[in-house]
Point group: D2
């Protein structure tokens, strides 16, 4: 584990960089200050990059637009790998027809629609269409009435023997410097413990997230896992997930892991990043931008 002062030297060592989004590129206040310099340097050096994020609230197009609105234009939809994309791939491969009931917003559901398959918010499931529900997806923590619709979800999943997909495994996400909000992964866990069935989860630290990004690259060119580095702020998702997939990893201290806690957290969890770096911001005058 090496301490690195300037993220620039990380970029220089690899051909491809995977970034976590929250706590690395942005936080509850907006973009991490200076992060645009990192993407300018990546472009200048001809390095490839992907955002690998536990998020199923929106499509990659919508996610990219949110970066553009904040002034980070380097991130196009084809550079985003979200846990929602894995849920969509699962449904495309495994659930050809019928209804996919969901907890989430209409936007989150729109993305997983396809021709043969129909999405339906859980509040519209009733005794006339219950038999056609062939899968259930936990997409987002907003867009539904928690009391009515969580209870209804429990009863749908007790009655129907169907796959239940968790499209974002996070338990909570930050709202502000002091407050968090329960994420759909937390709600899914509660429902799972009540119905006693096995849900299918997509999201870091699971390898399938990293594999999805890795495959996107390999469709176009030969690459080795040694050429990729994963950058994240969370030991339990970004770092252990990246390590297990065989990537080098960078823990940045701009999010969940505070600078004063990093060493103790690494020791107590046994999750060891290849590097520790204050942030993913590239510094230095040699960056002729």
């Amino acid at each position: 584990m090496k301490h690195i002062d300037n993220f620039k030297s990380i970029v220089d060592r690899y051909q491809i960089v995977f970034f976590d989004a929250f706590g690395v590129l942005k936080n509850y206040k907006g973009l991490v200050p200076g992060i645009e310099k990192t993407f300018a340097y990546l472009e200048q050096q001809g390095k490839e990059y992907y955002i690998v994020t536990n998020d199923a609230s929106r499509s990659p197009v919508q996610l990219a637009e949110s970066y553009h609105r904040q002034g980070l234009h380097a991130i196009s939809p084809d550079r985003i790998v979200s846990s929602g994309m894995l849920a969509k791939e699962y449904l495309d491969l495994k659930v050809k027809d019928g209804i996919v009931a969901f907890l989430g917003t209409p936007e989150s559901a729109h993305y997983i629609e396809n021709e043969g398959r129909h999405t339906l918010s859980v509040n519209q499931v009733n005794s006339t269409n219950m038999d056609k529900v062939n899968a259930f997806v936990f997409m987002d923590d907003e867009g539904f009435d928690w009391f009515e619709d969580i209870n209804k979800t429990v009863n749908i999943l007790r009655k129907r023997t169907i796959p239940a997909i968790v499209a974002n495994t996070d338990y909570a996400y930050p709202l502000s410097a002091n407050d968090v909000s329960v994420a759909i992964g937390g709600i899914a866990n509660m429902v799972e413990s009540i119905v006693g069935k096995e849900f299918i989860r997509f999201g870091k630290p699971d390898s399938q997230m990293f594999m999805f990004a890795y495959d996107l690259i390999r469709e176009r060119r030969q690459i080795s896992k040694k050429d990729i580095v994963m950058v994240g702020d969370t030991l339990y998702t970004d770092i252990i997930g990246g390590n297990k997939f065989g990537l080098d990893t960078v823990l940045v201290l701009s999010g969940n892991t505070l600078p004063e806690d990093a060493e103790a957290a690494i020791h107590s969890t046994g999750i060891v990043p290849t590097y520790i770096c204050e942030s993913a911001v590239v510094h230095g005058g040699e960056l002729d931008l």
Copy 2:
């Protein structure tokens, strides 16, 4: 493990009977048909009985009234031991002053009020009184806005280093023949996994429930654990809890455990009741009532 045809022969063997409530005395349709004969026989034989129930939604007085309204007058408040009573005892012993914030109905909170201590629904906690919140209690799944107040609970418990009490450990409860509802124990579990702290739980199978009832008896007379039998419909709460406390136990098949599944469930869990009986109803003409 003996199969018993008539609950009467169970009553005849013990001086004191502990009953679980839901699935034993009542179900979603009302009282278990014939259960009044059991209490008539208990009274006739001079046997003592207690209802030992995971419930913090109401006080013992209100719980007794609900049996009276349904026609079972034998159950007086002093015969009821609820998990809510343990939560109240905890607060009386350990939280002398300040605010006890809660999730639940006003009735559930009314019961845990006392002189020095003030209860406050979570939606009324704010930045001006947050510092005085000295405990948090999960009482009931109704009486609050799930989205607003569960999220607020998470943030209160992240900020305040205070005991969090779960006054009913059940994850769900039956609403009808086909539907269940998420119980406050399920919600508490989700919150605990998000805030990462250790909550204090009251309710079967924990021994403290049985001890509370046992102490009520011993205040008045000498008794041995061998003189008590625990009757319940659920292996994971009533039976293993009663066994561990050292009581003989009866599994009745009028609730959670279906007659056709009982043997397999006992074998697969290793939770062995002393007896199996169809229901807690006393049968027979010899019962001169």
Copy 3:
């Protein structure tokens, strides 16, 4: 939560003191230096005390002798409440005859023997006596061949539908300043996860430990939980267990919880002792001993 400089002022506030053993009275090097002064002061002041310990390796008589050998004569067998005693009480109440198979030393088993019941080391269980095995007890991590006998235990518990008792819930115990040893509670957990049955566990933080000691006192005199304080070095067993039972609690910093970590550990777990004190040693010249 108050910081207390001298344990003497704790003793002065209560009538009865419950002590954890390891990390409070002794550690891997022997007795905590000066601890005899605490017991002298307790005797002088006419205060009652009990050792409440997760230990099933020996009988209370043998445990007391080990204190005597080290020079602490104040601890007699009747002052010791061990998790092994709860296992014995369970067997006495619930397993009247047949064989109780066990993992542990002959000494640990000797203590749970009684007239109708026969204990048998797991290595002596075979096809001729398997049918008579009516309970299984995890007593101690020594006295058996781990490979042979843990595997045999798994297969006995898969075949026999009998109660499995864990007489000490600890996962590990300290051997020296740097090393720990796997405890029988850790082994029991592994076996439970493999056989998929529910085991019965005795030991702190479970309330039944505290109740056992509380009952010993009440056999002789009236007492309230307010008159008792629990002293321990471990938040997850001594402190949360004592709190839940309704006792005031003292976290001492002479064992598992290091002085520099105490505040952070309390905040991150939400387990709040009534007091924090450097050790359970009574200081001061006013102690005319």
Copy 4:
């Protein structure tokens, strides 16, 4: 979920078949009778196949030889994907030098050796080489003294902040019709719960197992996940893992899942295979072999 009488019709629908080993191709008595016909038919039809197995006890070459000795010559080393291969890939990518300590047999360790890296049985780790231990691997349940070496493993992992790799996640494996043996995955779980660190696990149901096999195929030719079917006897590993990776799945009833339990197990777990088939044996005279 369709019931299929003859495994032949499964083979006819896909280009590539993934097989679990134990309970599908073989059991404790040897090969599943008739399984050689399946491989003859696969060869005849020009279908590709892989064995995807949680096993780190031996190299693919040794695993293939064990099939050959039993008379199944169709299985060559390049057709085997084992969890041990993933552990080896991890080490090759992430642990360039120093010592890899292990629990297991010398054969299991030999396979993960490489030039820069040295493997060392845990019993040979001591104070002089402890500092060079850069990773720990749980390989196999044999080849070491359980008492000495499991305790030593706990202490190595408490002292060294290094990755701990579990090369086979299974908790137990069958020894005979009636008996099982604790597997290294069960031991690893116990050690993890004691040291409190996060281990890295390889094996079904984790996607990385399926991905490894999928990549082997794609090195040589274009393929879609729709062309592959996964065949297994265990819902919790083979079926949910295959499903999550996006493959069609076949539950065979020749191993862990008994014919009489299959429907209930599917309903209670919510893990739904695409097909159910008695075994993986191809039947029928039309098979001109």
